[in-house]
Symmetry: C2
Subunit: 589 residues, 2 copies
Amino acid sequence: MKLARYLTILEWGRGYGGVTLTNDLVAAAIVTIMLIPQSLAYAMLAGLPPEIGLYASILPIIAYALFGTSRALAVGPVAVISLMTLTAASAVAAPGSAEFIAATLVLALLSGLILIVMGVLRLGFLANLLSHPVVSGFITASGIIIATSQLKSLLGIKASGEALPELVTTLIENAKDTNPYTLAIGVIATGFLFWVRKGLKPMLVGFGLAARPADLVAKAGPIVAVALSILAVIAFDLEAKGVKVVGDIPQSLPPFTVPLFDAELWQRLAVPALLLSIIGFVESVSVAQTLAAKKRQRIVPDQELIGLGAANVAAAFSGGYPVTGGFARSVVNFDAGAETPAAGAFTAVGILLAALFLTPLLASLPIATLAGTIIVAVLSLVDFKTPRAIWHYSKADFAAMAATIAVTLLIGVEPGVMAGVGLSLALFLWRASRPHAAIVGRVPETEHFRNVKRHKVFTDPRILTIRIDESLTYLNARWLEEFVLEEIAAHPKLKHLILMASAVNAIDASALESIEAINHRMADAGVCLHLSEVKGPVMDALERAHFLHELTGRVWLSQNEAFEAVLEIANREEETQTPTDLWMARGLI
Amino acid sequence: MKLARYLTILEWGRGYGGVTLTNDLVAAAIVTIMLIPQSLAYAMLAGLPPEIGLYASILPIIAYALFGTSRALAVGPVAVISLMTLTAASAVAAPGSAEFIAATLVLALLSGLILIVMGVLRLGFLANLLSHPVVSGFITASGIIIATSQLKSLLGIKASGEALPELVTTLIENAKDTNPYTLAIGVIATGFLFWVRKGLKPMLVGFGLAARPADLVAKAGPIVAVALSILAVIAFDLEAKGVKVVGDIPQSLPPFTVPLFDAELWQRLAVPALLLSIIGFVESVSVAQTLAAKKRQRIVPDQELIGLGAANVAAAFSGGYPVTGGFARSVVNFDAGAETPAAGAFTAVGILLAALFLTPLLASLPIATLAGTIIVAVLSLVDFKTPRAIWHYSKADFAAMAATIAVTLLIGVEPGVMAGVGLSLALFLWRASRPHAAIVGRVPETEHFRNVKRHKVFTDPRILTIRIDESLTYLNARWLEEFVLEEIAAHPKLKHLILMASAVNAIDASALESIEAINHRMADAGVCLHLSEVKGPVMDALERAHFLHELTGRVWLSQNEAFEAVLEIANREEETQTPTDLWMARGLI
């Protein structure tokens, strides 16, 4: 049972057979047809030879099937991770070179190890640092960069750069070299693929096909574009007219590769690998959760880390490059009826057969067609509705999103992610450093205490009650000191301060230090500190710290009890005068 | 008035005269006597010529007096900042070299600019990242390193290293070269200074002196040690016997210096300058707040940033090195009766006179005496009580403290601070990612709802109420999704889920996205989502996001109202059967 937690195949493998097998086989066939052009295209986007895209779609899928918790997730090369791989590996070698390919293997291995370590140490919560607006902004910006970068293949020209400014400049500079045949193929292929995506399904439905099969046929559109453009290249001898093609692809099993163990290279790729891993994980888990919820299945995020980590390690040792769970292919897999990860394993076999037998057919495939495939795929990632909605909902969230989009577009993908994460965290810490708190008074003829600014309530000039609405931590401890001391300075008649702690779930060591300081400073000023509605665990902690012996006032069970008792003490204090009497009146000596 | 916020002299300068002037002058005289040996010693600790310690105690004090908000804070060289300066500048040049001195000027300027920018942008909250246990651990570890490093001067040998392992190794290796005369002076001076600190005051009080003057006389102890050891060196011609002395100190006004504007140097010193600035700020503000509270004065932390920043900029342009508010000298200043920052200005004049006229007398001052001054001063920073108290109070806080101490001692000061800040933040984020929440039921015959695990409460299998005890943010949004979906999976009879939001002060865009996902996924499962006790600002935000139109259930003012109404709906649902009827029973269509 314990083993089954890590090796999930032991769970779904029991009782596998018949109907499930058929469903999985059908789904695998459809996904395989979709994956062949996509794998080639994404490898090209990552600056790698096309066959590497196929290799990255074989063993990683099987590794995920063994360890992952999603039953429908399809793992392999995806657009954003391919772009991040290109960026990271370009920093250490020229795209396409042997060193570049070696760097992508190291990236896959590092990424796999990072994910596995995070999974084993249950560090999945670190992915929370990527807020929804940051991820959404990053994906949109990456989509724009990818689509722009593919224009060069569509025009048959050269362009370079990881961010928009250089990309656009080099595209404009080289636009004069546009090859008309390449452009024609590219535009036709892209147009066809857009139509397949938007118009084919309604047409098929119009012809009487049911919605689901119509949808699945439409997903096979790219393979048609591939086939037609190969035929066009051969028929009109376009290669001689300057149309660039994929060229010879080796017919081979995935090679066994061993990533370089070079300390300096590992160091330089560590941060990119971390970013790439977390982005890949966040995207993959969100796809997996959406699909699992539809069938009331459960995703275990920490185990997903291990599954994706295993997939990347497998990629590193089988001539692949970094992979993650892809949105489009997973949805197709799910819609095609995949029931278990075995569907993924069958897909792997399909791609393996393609790598062994179909590659000669692909030699004349124009690169412009692959560029079209990429453009159509990534434009669906570009989302302008979410920024508008977030702008209306929260300006802080919008700021984090806008920073992510702007930095990603203008500087690059890694600075973009880091800017978004950094700004979100800074805004969060800023807000955490000034928690909600209110001065409260008693609602007449009730036992309820409400904010004096919003309600007509009863207060007494000698007593001040501050309701603290959040846990007290080192981030807001200094704020508490300042707030309390300012309130005391502003209320010259004050004799008793009650901190109403009904919403305080925890007090850390820094905040305890601050409360002790407040207690001492107030004692100097002749003001007594009381606590009310302290929660059980907080009370235990305060007792452990011996704070309750130092407290000048008392801890009261309810705020109403505190207010009534302290009011009585204050009245008795008015009657007595000497300092000792004062403290006796308080019942404290 | 607006100007007075930044230039605080305009506030305390009004009505200055008579008694205040006398008090300030007395305090200045006492602090000056204390500061002369200390300034020389700390400059030496920082790897700088001794006169630089004097220069750092002149203009920076005046700059702080103009802009700072504390009336008693005494600014100048301090032990921990001197150690951090040594560490940072050693990374770019050999201690004592011209390049090293240039680097310390750049450090002071960078530190000043960082503090001023933080003050103007009101980024003082970033100092919150240094929790109390981390600062306390860092100070203790720094004290141990400083004391250990001074043993070399006490023995008259060489030693090197920024952390304990190298320091101790080199001390042991070179111990055979110990100079007996140096050791004698060092041990006697250190012993004398310890006695002055612990034994002199009680003795003076025994002789009939009042406590306060006895305390102040005891503070002048170091100057006596300085004078006696100079006499000993001259009388016994110890310099010829290998006792190292301070040597010729130029008689000069602070020189006008212009820090190097070298982009690469600035880049390399930026992070050390940031750490040094924040450590200095945190320490200084805590001293200033403690002293201000005793006289019911107010410290404005963001303005303190500007005051300390101005002091460091002044240090950079007057041949100094990084400074901050010192604990010991500020307490002496306060106890000696300083009433306004003018006391600081008078101290500056005192040190200026010392730099001009007293330096020739100091040529024969043995370095071992200065080392003794430093050792006695820093050992008071070493605190083993706090770690024990924190261990009992909170294991997480103790972990952050222990990591800070261990990394500082074993690796160095900068990694030490960063380890502490990083671990505190990681632990905070980990806790923030799994907020407090409880399943609640109604306490019989009341309107109160309490945790089902702790109280005997009434619940219904068709209705589940989850009380969320914290604001919903991107850090805990994924946790909320997982928690709710697991609870739904665990309660097969469930028809209605109520999220009781009485402690939710805010919902950010990521958490809203999660609640929307929960709402949709629950609708698929035929479970209705309700909210209760939603606070005003949260309600406004949910309305702005149009979420309330999508919500399958309703928002109820109070939890009791929600529970009763939903119970009634659930009862009506039992009587009807078809899905449409179900939704009608819920009053939702």
